[in-house]
Amino acid sequence: MAVEGKAIDALSQFELGTTFGPIGRAVGFTHSNLHMLIAGGLIVALMIYGMRPRAMVPGRLQSVAESAYGFIDDMLLAQVGPEGRRFFPFVFTLFMFILFGNMLGLFPYAFTYTSHISLTFTLAMLVFVLITVVAIALHGTKFFGYFFPEGAPLWLAPIIIPVEIVSYLSRPVSLSIRLFANMVAGHVMLKVFATFVVMLGALGTLGPVLSIMPLAINVALVGFEVLVAFLQAYVFAILTCIYLHDAVHLH
């Protein structure tokens, strides 16, 4: 995707490198992991330090913490029902981890760990394993009836069963590619237009004037990326909820 030779290098931002000097190199601790630590620290700080006042009428930070809690709680209750309460810590951790990763990635010099397909796929596999284990634990062998809806004519089984199995197996794939592609696309666009600003700025007298255009686009893109960062975390969480609903209720 590196257009015009060395001029626009939009992909090096995704390259992995180690941090914390030789110790980090020895244990393979990457920039990506550093940002996970920062995101985790911010989440814990928000949820523990923010809730410290334990006020009856919450202040600003406590409101944010309570809204995040209520947001996921309502989502689980609406999608899964009261049985979904058990999965609240997992869905909450997942949502906050993705949301903070996406938001953190928008800062200059930050690494967007959600822009790696290996990471999003790992998270999606966590969800996939969870829903499969929950479904089998709750329903036993009846879980396999999920792949052939009751009442469907038997002669359709050779078509329905493979389709259902493929659709079930494709869940982690679609879940991970959606998040990965959104984050990569956004960051590549930001980088490309930021490079345009620099390139046009070096174009003599007219350059600085012209470079305002890609700069304006970048300003708009940052706002758009904030929306995408939230939206993708939301989509990941709500799809997890919907899959959990299927696992708990089997259709």
């Binding site: 393979g28 601790f29 334990r54 309570e66 810590p89 790696h116 290996s118």
Partner: protein, 164 residues
């Protein structure tokens, strides 16, 4: 694309660290952060419910007091009306009794006066007979008619009786 360079050994170590950090975050949130939030939210919900109950109780008490007041007002009004009615009846009875007493006294006086009048008239009537008798005898004496006194008295009585 660096994301697809799976030969990079950092790719695997990154995922191992991801699982460690994610697991740690899950553990901390599940055991420390989220129960605290739940406690605060539950406390607030309980407080709101308690306040709502208290408000509902206060409203019920207010309505009861209002009903009591209304009942008391109605009772007082009916009591006052009864008192007014009994006072009027009492006054009427008193007035009637007084009027009767006065009437009785007046009747007695009237009766007494009538009896006095009757006595006076009777005595006057008695005197009238004697006057008539004297006059008759005087007239007879002037006329030089000699009549027995008894006959004269009978004749005068007849004449007087004839007129009643």
């Amino acid at each position: 694309m660096p994301q697809l360079d799976f030969s990079n050994p950092l790719m695997l170590s990154k995922l191992v660290w991801l699982l460690i950090i994610f697991g740690l975050l899950y553990f901390v949130l599940k055991n420390y952060a989220l129960p605290q939030v739940a406690a605060v939210l539950d406390e607030r919900a309980a407080r709101i419910a308690a306040d709502l109950d208290a408000a509902r109780d206060a409203q019920a008490a207010g309505e009861a007091a209002m009903a009591e007041l209304r009942a008391a007002t109605a009772a007082a009004r009916s009591e006052a009306q009864a008192a007014v009615a009994s006072a009027i009846a009492e006054a009427n009875a008193k007035a009637t009794a007084e009027a009767e007493a006065i009437n009785r006294r007046l009747d007695a006086q009237v009766a007494e006066a009538e009896s006095r009048v009757r006595a006076a008239r009777d005595s006057a009537m008695g005197a009238l007979r004697e006057v008539a008798l004297d006059t008759t005898q005087a007239m007879l004496g002037r006329l030089r008619v000699h009549a027995p006194a008894n006959d004269v008295a009978a004749a005068v009585d007849r004449a007087a009786g004839g007129r009643g």
